[in-house]
Subunit: 405 residues, 2 copies
Amino acid sequence: MPVGFTKHHTIHAITGIRLAAAAAGIRYQNRHDLVLMELAPGTRVAAVFTKNVFRAAPVELAIKHLALAAPRYLLINSGNANAGVGAAGMQIALASTQAVADLMHVQAEQVVPFSTGVIGEQMDIHRITQTLPELAEQLHADGWQTAARAIMTTDTVEKLFSKTIQLQGQAIHITGMAKGSGMIQPNMATMLAYIATDLNVDNAQLATLLENSVEHSFNAITVDSDTSTNDACMLIATGAADLAFEQLSEQEQNAFVQAIDELMLLLAQAIVRDGEGASKFVTVTVHNASSDQQAKRVAFSIANSPLVKTALAASDANWGRIMAAAGKVEDDTLNLDSVDLSINGVQILQSSQLLESYLDEAGSEAMQAAEVTIALDLKLGNATKTVWTTDLTHEYIRINAEYRS
Amino acid sequence: MPVGFTKHHTIHAITGIRLAAAAAGIRYQNRHDLVLMELAPGTRVAAVFTKNVFRAAPVELAIKHLALAAPRYLLINSGNANAGVGAAGMQIALASTQAVADLMHVQAEQVVPFSTGVIGEQMDIHRITQTLPELAEQLHADGWQTAARAIMTTDTVEKLFSKTIQLQGQAIHITGMAKGSGMIQPNMATMLAYIATDLNVDNAQLATLLENSVEHSFNAITVDSDTSTNDACMLIATGAADLAFEQLSEQEQNAFVQAIDELMLLLAQAIVRDGEGASKFVTVTVHNASSDQQAKRVAFSIANSPLVKTALAASDANWGRIMAAAGKVEDDTLNLDSVDLSINGVQILQSSQLLESYLDEAGSEAMQAAEVTIALDLKLGNATKTVWTTDLTHEYIRINAEYRS
């Protein structure tokens, strides 16, 4: 069960987008594993992809197609990452986009492929092509829920959220879905995310918006420090609302950006809440580092430390492990001589000295919460970074030692 | 039980060194936890310490004392790291070295302190001082075995090895002990190691020898990517043999260096074999990287990947996870387009293509061995690096979720 996960019960359709999911039998029987997402003509998108060098063929092809044309269809499959299968991977990715193009009467370059699932097994293209007609028939503006479920792999819950913001008297909708629960680390992990709005946003604005928002959401989460071959995050603006971003006042623009940020953070945090084996949702904030880079490195060093994560699983306020994890960052400007450390508001260290009033029991009690915030104030400068992670439990090992077999 | 661990039954005393261990009751009752090691006058040492910023007081004091004088006594305690306790840590480290100095009639600077164990709990100095007379009485050239056991924390077996090498008609002995099984990652993890020889080696030679040897042994192992506050490795040359390193021919020097290297590698690998919860001893070799740095980063990225380590625990030849772990290294010169990958000699990938003859069953069978070698040939240059690690098991989590409580 995800930690502190709250479903949004109202999911707004985004005018200009229709979705469908079906069971192609790619890896498992009797579950939806293939999604077609239709974007109305004129829709603009921005996308970021995994930085892992070992990229899957669909990622390569998606990047290529996005550079050539404005996309009309996204084809997403779960169950198989179409990664690590050599030249066959690109053939399958090409064939699947061509099949969508033929069926929907668009150019192949207007179809963007996404895959997630097991690495290194060849995908059966026929399972996809034979399922496409069913998908085409079922395209529907209210297909978000079924699509969000279909893209899941080891996820235990679909990640789907919606927001509405009033701008110049109009209700502007933002709806996003994501999948992912393991192989999660900055720079796109095993995760796919699609966030759409009906506001009219131009390509450059959309790219900037995505880049900034990803930095504080999807690139600020980690489950196990492993990144993947297939990650992608796409921001989509259909422009169906009769209102453009550039028509907005600065205040309205900020409100819209904030709404996008909030939605992306909800999605990113949902991935951590549903992290493999997670029993805790953990926020790590490093305050007053000497640089953004230092703040980020120290925060991730704590968030990825197996010793910190096992202590979290045991509700052991083992602050020595937190400090040792911070200290292992190789950075000449880092020193830990006068830090403050607190866990869920219970202060443990002041100027690197154990508070005389601190009791182990108070620390353990704070650690027992399902949501734990570790706050480390370095007092070296002004940079702050927050990242989110999980604890490391027996269940994580069970899931990952059993995933393929 | 450690994986593939073979005890050396003959441990050679090193003339000029006497050791004793006793039960001071620092953390646990009824076990030895305090070691005094006496070095004859004229003994030379070289030492390297943890690069973790969050260094323990005894590490600070050891560095200071080593800069001031040639050491005559090493005082080593287990059960408490004397780390993260603020100014009290240095007071305790100073008081303990002073107590040894008073008892043994040397200067405090000639006493070097080492601590390992739990972080953040204040150590009772009286337990140490009251045990020192017993230690002084029991100093013995054959005290290696009892000392190696006394410095253990979560170790399940003492790590103690000996070698003899014939040089110019003399038997030159090398004996070393180490402790460590978790918080193991390059640049000195939670580990202490002391390697001694009776050959006469001058300070500069000793320092070079240690630095080179550590790079290919203690700095090439990882259990959980966490580094610690207290690590130290010391190379000791008593000079008791009537033979000096500089008198040796180049060939003899090489033979001696090789013997030291082999002993340090045995100790380093013993730490991995006894890694917390380890069920497998894993060798990761990256061949033909474009630089030493790249070879090392890729090797450690694989060796530290939780997904690779859980696959190892499950004997799942999940080569996709290995490739994804290699690919997450951020390095512009890295590409994985034509790599060869094999596991225990079973080739899986050739030029990044799955071998047609490869069968999952063969991979799984190879993975079932207690000792697994992952060999990745990048074909980008000439740099090679080998590192050693363990799998990630339920037992690791049990140990680290229960260590403090």
